[in-house]
């Protein structure tokens, strides 16, 4: 079967190429369906409890996706007639933002005051054209003393202000809605700057973040994929010294990427930040198959074998190991299906498919192309062989030091693994080159952080929010929250009620208190609500029958652990002070704060399943339980060590890194497979003793291993340059893990083999087919 396939490929290369091209073109047609979903919600599965809580809260109140125009007048003062006029114009224009439902700014703030029995509710800045310098101190005084505004819409020093646009994305066409909003926002920004060069503008908010997910990932693919192609080209030409082989490899890579992405489009996948790295990962992984086939083929040709025969031999020799490593790699990536976060499941499935496609192309299209391309072999002796030989000698000589030494190093690195802290701060998903990150950092320094928590308090009774006891609880909560060191701002009903009570008593400051009568509070609110304009109602903080209220707290930017700690602190406050109410806390930040932990738990299971599957396959392929078990150590240790090293690099792990262990498992197993199978080949078929078998293994696969590792590390290091930190971290840790795996396979595994596989192969060998290897005393060293 296999032989027939190989012969067919080599006898009818044109047909194979044509069929493949047809297949690739057919797949590529699906790529038009492949669109980028930039909503942060894609990171959460539908059953995610934090997402469910948040969505339910959004249905009860109103949605809170937003765009923040951060305005900083260069003269450092928001309160000048000219600046206020510009802000008012921007506020009006902001109603034109697609899907906008609310605009909050310093100018349209609904200021209420009273004169005798007249209650005024109107825009703080009603007609900016008529403002004079004399009006400024009064307006500033009102604004920076208003708890709803200060630290949210205006800085206490009044040097930075925000125009906040709330948008309600219908979610009908999630692919186009956000770019639609952003293009309008950017056009407004450009126009604003043109008209007001003395005011600088930055853009933040959830919508800008969503958009950055897409832009960051797509610009990555536009820059990183070409870089990666360059690295592969250069690496192959330098290391394998073949233009034809490099050309054929590049074709394989392109076809693999195109058909993977095309098939993903056909089957209804969409792109997200993590899954958009599929091309670069597939690119990196597809190279390895080609390298193995090329290396063997050149080796044969150098031995004088004719080209076609050399290709056939190479296929025969490599078919099983390439198939095996492709399957294990695919299993590793498929373990991502255990992830709690759908984009990573997609990534796993797409890359797994890509790896298998690469395998198929490598044994069909690749040899077909090679048979047609001119290939010449120079009978050069390469220095690398000597390096491997020297390394083998070094390992054999120092095995007694290497085993305990490497063990000690491995253990001492691994102990740092638990020292990593959990953190998913979506602002920090972007590096400081991304404008969204810069704007948000600026906002954090000058106004407030972007970490919010929405606290919904349910009284269980219609109009229950007017109950003085409830209002007092909300008032206490608000004060308590403001006293927390992490808090930047609290938006609370109690502030509005206090202000109304004051207004109703001739603006007497001593009435800035909560009314102790339920009907009074209800009637104040009725009056106030009747006076509010379109879009500035209280529906964003009260539910429809006024049985529950939503308090929104904004904190400085916090780590996941800190956020979960505050969340618990708030629940504890309610338990101690207002236990009669039903409380829900939700926000996008909390969703991200919890997902790292949830994902790590689910990925532990996924990685374990993958490990068991891969070990079974290894044991079966190596025909030995014992070597299957031995292989566990070099397969597990690198990921653990990688996380240990990570503690010194970053020390924070989250969503993206929690999938690295499963992902790398399938890749690093390849090294072990190649090394062990050559070792066993030497032991069983060539009757070599462990030392000689180690030397044989180094000699035969050492070079291929380090070249593929080089390509893999280079590939994932390129990914590590991403401006999207989620992908960059994933790339960096994967690269580290793969590099560690090679070191472990070169320095630890041989020493371990020589220790455990002493001179008693036949007695410890579970599988009896190696009886012929039972003559380790007759040492036959390879020259």
């Amino acid at each position: 079967m296999k032989e027939r396939l190989f012969r067919f490929v080599l006898d009818h290369p044109i047909w194979v190429i044509l069929l493949t091209v047809l297949f690739v073109l057919g797949s590529a047609y699906g790529a038009k369906n492949l669109v980028f979903k930039s909503d942060y919600r894609v990171f959460f599965s539908e059953e995610n409890p934090q997402l469910t809580a948040f969505e339910s809260m959004q249905k009860i109140y109103s949605k809170s996706d937003n765009v923040a125009f951060i305005l900083s007048p260069k003269d450092g003062d928001v309160f000048t007639p000219k600046t206020l006029k510009a802000i008012q114009a921007l506020t009006t224009e902001s109603w034109q933002v697609p899907f906008s439902t609310r605009v909050d700014s310093i100018t349209n703030f609904q200021h209420s005051w009273s004169e005798e029995d007249d209650m005024f509710v109107e825009d703080l800045v009603l007609d900016a054209d008529t403002l004079t310098d004399a009006d400024m101190p009064r307006l500033k005084e009102i604004a920076i003393n208003e708890p709803l505004l200060v630290h949210k819409i205006i800085s206490p020093q009044a040097h930075v202000t925000v125009v906040n646009v709330t948008v309600q994305l219908p979610g009908v066409n999630p692919v186009e809605e956000i770019p639609h909003v952003v293009s309008k926002i950017r056009q407004m920004k450009a126009q604003f700057i043109e008209q007001n060069p003395e005011i600088s503008v930055r853009l933040s908010g959830m919508v800008m973040m969503n958009n950055s997910f897409a832009e960051s990932s797509l610009s990555d693919n536009a820059t990183l994929v070409p870089i990666m192609f360059g690295v592969v080209l250069l690496g192959m030409i330098l290391l394998l010294r073949t233009f034809s082989g490099t050309f054929a490899t590049v074709i394989i890579i392109i076809f693999t990427i195109v058909s993977t992405m095309g098939l993903a489009g056909h089957t209804g996948f969409f792109l997200t930040g993590p899954s958009s790295t599929t091309p670069i990962m597939v690119l990196t992984l597809a190279v390895a198959d080609c390298i193995h086939i090329l290396t063997t083929m050149f080796y044969e040709m150098r031995q004088g074998v004719e080209k076609k025969k050399a290709i056939q031999d190479s296929l025969r020799i490599n078919f099983q190991p390439i198939f095996l490593t492709s399957v294990t790699t695919a299993i590793g990536f498929l373990s991502l299906n255990f992830s709690d976060s759908p984009p990573f499941r997609d990534l796993g499935n797409m890359v797994a498919a890509g790896v298998m496609l690469a395998f198929i192309f490598s044994i069909t299209l690749f040899p077909a192309m090679l048979s047609l391309l001119p290939l010449r072999v120079k009978a050069t002796h390469e220095g690398k062989h000597d390096v491997m030989h020297k390394l083998a000698g070094f390992v054999v000589r120092n095995r007694k030091v290497l085993l305990p030494g490497m063990s000690a190093i491995m253990v001492s690195v691994i102990v740092f693994m638990p020292q990593n802290t959990l953190n998913d701060d979506f602002v920090k998903y972007f590096d400081t080159s991304v404008p969204f990150r810069q704007a948000t950092d600026y906002m954090q320094e000058n106004l407030s952080g972007m970490s919010t928590m929405e606290i919904s308090i349910e009284t269980g009774e219609a109009s229950g929010i007017n109950d003085p006891k409830f209002l007092q609880s909300v008032g206490n909560l608000t004060e308590w929250l403001r006293a927390q060191p992490e808090t930047d701002h609290v938006s609370s009903l109690s502030d509005i009620i206090k202000r109304l009570n004051k207004n109703m008593h001739g603006d007497d400051p001593s009435y800035y208190t909560l009314p102790d009568d339920r009907e009074l509070a209800a009637q104040y609110l009725l009056l106030y609500e009747m006076s509010l304009p379109y879009g500035l109602d209280l529906n964003n903080q009260l539910n429809v029958d006024k049985s529950s209220a939503r308090v929104i707290a904004t904190f400085r930017n916090l780590t996941s652990t800190e956020q979960i700690e505050i969340e618990e602190r708030i629940y504890a406050w309610f338990a101690a002070n207002a236990s009669t109410y039903e409380v829900d806390i939700a926000s996008p930040n909390l969703m991200f704060a919890h997902i790292g932990q949830r994902n790590i738990k689910s990925m532990l299971l996924g990685t374990t399943v993958a490990l068991i599957l891969i070990s079974l396959i290894l044991g079966f392929a190596l025909k030995s339980l014992k070597f299957g078990l031995i292989s566990l150590i070099p397969n597990i240790a690198p990921a653990a060590m990688g996380f240990g090293v990570w503690y010194f690099i970053d020390g924070q792990i989250g969503l993206a890194l929690s999938v690295v262990a499963g992902m790398t498992l399938g890749i690093i197993v390849d090294d072990t497979v190649h090394f062990l199978s050559k070792y066993l080949h030497a032991r069983r078929d060539r009757n070599k003793d462990p030392k000689a078998a180690v030397e044989y293994a180094f000699a035969s696969v050492g070079k291929a291993l380090w070249i593929t590792t080089f390509v893999l590390v280079a590939g994932f290091m390129v990914l590590a340059q991403s401006s999207f930190k989620l992908n960059a971290d994933m790339g960096l840790l994967t690269a580290i893990t793969i590099l560690i795996a090679l070191i472990v396979d070169f320095l630890f595994l041989p020493a371990l083999l020589m220790k455990l596989d002493k001179n008693n192969l036949s007695t410890t060998e579970d599988n009896s087919n190696s009886a012929e290897g039972d003559n380790n005393d007759c040492v036959k060293k390879i020259a």
């Binding site: 697609p98 007017n466 109703m504 009725l526 609500e529 006076s531 379109y534 429809v544």
Partner: protein
């Protein structure tokens, strides 16, 4: 303003008489305005009215809330109507009464009596576009229809529940309005509105109002028993049910002032 309106009226009368002759010369804007004037004229003379309103508010989660209001209105010639609303539900605003002199152009005069505070407060606000008692109706949607509140453009004739409808676009004159335009369906026989579509400030569909169960009172005044407002952006909706319509009950200006507001129960 009144002068203009009167001359407009006479123009319309003239227009009606000569309609067959100059129909082709009438622009869509003129036709839209004519329909509005005719609609207003057809309902003229109801003098005063009393009715009970019940509102059911629903959010996306299906939660409901109820408002009960008693309403008295007085027809004012050449200006907006006067109205007095007394709130019965929710319980904790029971007895709160709202007096409004609506004006065709400019801010309305509004007073609210807060029974707990035992005081009448004048609401000095130009905002008519916010939600009325948390519902999907704004005060702007509920106040009386006046020709001068909009400019018009006739779009087309279209079959509708009330037979054949004029479909007319209406552009609010008030710059504080929450809408860029409304599209109204009025039947040609009685000028009853059957549907109004509201477009928000960025001209995207915001709400749809439909009218149901019309009854005729006093031989010419058609009133719906049910008005349904659906907000397409928030998924919230409000059903407004009227009952016990009474016309020409003998109310006059003296029933609509700050003192009657205090006494209204």
């Amino acid at each position: 303003m009144t002068v203009l309106k009167k001359s407009l009226n006479s123009l319309v009368v003239l227009g009606l008489m000569t309609a067959p002759l100059i129909a082709s010369a009438e622009t869509a804007e003129e036709k839209g305005t004519r329909i509005a004037i005719e609609a207003k004229a057809s309902d003229k003379g109801w003098q005063d009215m009393q009715t009970s309103m019940n509102m059911i508010l629903r959010n996306k989660e299906g939660q409901e809330s109820i408002r009960d209001i008693r309403l008295k209105s007085l027809e004012i010639e050449n200006d907006g109507d006067k109205s007095l609303s007394v709130f019965d539900k929710p319980k904790d605003v029971k007895g709160t009464a709202f007096l409004s002199f609506s004006h065709a152009v400019g801010a309305d005069d509004q007073w609210l009596y807060l029974p707990k505070l035992k005081r009448v407060k004048r609401i000095a606000s130009r905002n008519k576009s916010g939600p009325f008692m948390g519902s999907e109706f704004s005060y702007e949607d509920l106040s009386s229809f006046e020709v001068e509140k909009y400019t018009y453009k006739f779009l087309r004739d279209e079959p509708c529940e009330g037979g054949t409808c004029y479909v007319v676009e209406q552009y609010p004159v008030d710059k504080n309005s929450g809408y860029t335009r409304r599209v109204a369906w009025l039947d040609q026989a009685e000028y009853r509105p059957w549907k109004i579509e509201f477009f928000d400030r960025k001209n995207t569909p915001l709400k749809t109002l439909t009218y149901h169960e019309y009854n005729e009172y006093e031989g010419k005044h058609w009133r719906p028993n049910l008005m349904k407002m659906v907000n397409h952006q928030s998924g919230k909706s409000t059903d407004l049910t009227y009952s016990d319509y009474q016309f020409k009950t003998g109310l006059d200006d003296n029933d609509f002032n700050k003192n009657t507001l205090k006494r209204a129960r």
